[in-house]
Amino acid sequence: MTRDGFQIRFFGIMRWVVIAVLVVATVFPFYYMVLLSVKPIDELLLDPGRIWVSAKEFSLDSYRSVLTSVENGGQGFPLMLRNSAIVSIGAMLLTLLVAIPGAYAVSRLRFTGHRKVGALFLGVYLFPATLLAVPLFVMFAKVGLQGSLFGLIVVYIAQTVPVAIYMLRSYFSTVPVSIEEAAALDGCSRFQILRKVVLPLAAPSVMATALYVFMIAWNEFLFALLFLAAEPDHWTVSLGLQQLANGVEVPKTVLMAGSVVLTLPVVLMFYGAERLLTEGLTSGADKG
């Protein structure tokens, strides 16, 4: 066989091997998560190697425990889901409010420093998040925001604004300038142009950015841990789950049910808008 022929055969086979391995590696942990969440713990301990669940042992007890409020002897996830929703939606809306004008300015207007978005990135991501913790803690205590959900939202805005601007900027610059010029000739102010012309045209990208910010806020753990650990009423789902795992003897099956509850909202949301999101994140990357 020629070298060319051999390579074509070899890579042709390897391609499917790689795909199979990757699918198993990415999907199996999630399958396992769901599997354990509907299994009674005794069955799991009896035979840890069995990776399916029979109809007889199938049980939703773990979910019942997770989703029952603390007063009723459960783990109190409903309250945490509410907290997570408030924080994520709040961060999402406020980040957009800040990032849309910023991204528009960066993509369209030439002002002092309009090429310095990169500096923004470095400023926010170059330093470890733990570095921000102490001063923020003290500042928040001074203005009465310690342990509050709003304080957390403020931190999330700062953490997501650079990414949001980066994503939005590349979309805004695809809106043809001539449309804006036409609107300007019709007497629109710059603000009106942004609101009535650019935003409607870039609506899908704004959606994508919004979802991405939501995801980051929903999944965030460190700042929630630093600011809210002492306030069980304000725990987000991520934090609550971690505290649950740290606590006394919680069965792994309950832990997995909690993980499913934590994961499901973002995963559903992500696949609802997958195209939007993946294109949004990488739209700068294919320009070569």
Binding site: T26, L109, L126, F127, A133, A158, N219, A285, G288
Partner: protein, 330 residues
């Protein structure tokens, strides 16, 4: 498509020399409008990021504990004591080394696996969209949830991996992937927990690299490779000499991004091992100084040292590869 070509914004009179001092009123208005629109961004980043960082740098040179801060105000007793303690404290150098191994291993791992995945999924086939979606799961899912699944999967007593390993792969006993510092494999000591954490990080972030790389691959003009086929090249040669050079700018950008993010990473290691068993990265150490000892000065000094190391490493990187990353960002 539209015939409009990309050009600079409206208010741009005939080609002006770049360095002209006096701006036209239109340009000045544009400047003002631009600054107004970015000001919310600047304000929030300034208040929530820049000021705290500056303050931390100051704290690094003061002798403070958490209780003192409220009363003490900004200017305390200046001292280099914290830095001395950072460098002389037990475990600092090994922690820095661990951070480096962890960062380089995870960055390399996620980019290489991402590249392989992108190559495998490059040509369309039935169900590709579905598989592509599945591949993004680790990146999308919350870190707390996936860290716990890994913990359970790898657990020595009820984890399925150890169960199968003992039953089918002939391991003589379960492996404590996350709590054992090192194992002898064929007589060579392997830092097991550190490797597991790197594997986790690779697993979680290869989708990120995959997304960027496949987007770039799809933008490579097919004629390039078609021409190479006519010239009688092998698939490997086409990858090595045609595709890879086209991908290098994205790879360089990904390297920088992943390196920065992983270097400062806290959640993943903290949730998986708590920094034990030889996975004591600096970010987790800082957290421990802060919460266990309330030693703000020492924690700040440690964090500042970490940031300085990162800046130096990035400086070196940009010296050697700067051009490529610039190209990608342009």
């Amino acid at each position: 498509m539209t015939t409009v070509t990309e050009r600079p914004p409206a208010a741009d009179p005939a080609p002006t020399p770049k360095r002209r001092r006096s701006k036209s009123p239109l340009r000045r208005e544009e400047n003002r409008a631009g600054l107004t629109l970015v000001s919310p961004t600047l304000v929030i980043v300034l208040v929530v990021v820049v000021l705290p960082i500056l303050w931390t740098v100051m704290l690094a040179f003061q002798n403070v504990r958490l209780v003192d801060i409220q009363s003490q105000g900004l200017w305390g007793h200046w001292t280099l004591r914290n830095l001395e303690r950072v460098f002389s404290s037990p475990g600092f150098w090994s922690s820095l080394w661990t951070t480096l191994v962890y960062t380089i291993g995870s960055t390399l791992g996620s980019i290489v696996v991402g590249l392989i995945a992108a190559l495998a999924l490059r040509k369309p086939f039935r169900g590709r969209a579905l598989i592509r979606g599945a591949m993004l799961l680790p990146y999308v899912a919350p870190v707390v949830a996936v860290a716990f699944v890994w913990q359970v999967l790898l657990s020595p007593d009820l984890g399925v991996v150890n169960h199968w390993g003992v039953e089918w792969l002939g391991w003589d006993r379960p492996i404590a992937f996350l709590t054992q510092r090192s194992y002898e494999v064929l007589g060579v000591p392997v830092p097991m927990a550190l490797f597991t954490v790197i594997a986790f990080e690779t697993w979680r972030y290869f989708p990120f690299a995959f997304l960027f790389l496949i987007a770039r691959m799809q933008a490579v003009p097919p004629v390039l490779e078609e021409a190479a086929v006519v010239d009688g090249t092998t698939p490997w040669q086409r990858f090595r000499f045609i595709l890879l050079p086209q991908l290098m700018p994205v790879v360089a950008l990904l390297t920088v991004l992943r390196f920065i993010f992983t270097f400062n990473k806290f959640d993943d290691v903290y949730l998986l091992t708590g920094g034990g068993a030889g996975t004591d990265v600096v970010a987790v150490r800082v957290y421990r100084f802060l919460t266990a000892r309330f030693d703000v000065g020492l924690a700040s000094a440690q964090a500042v040292v970490l940031a300085v190391v990162l800046i130096v490493l990035l400086g070196l990187y940009f010296r050697f590869f700067g051009r490529k990353v610039q190209e990608e960002q342009a």
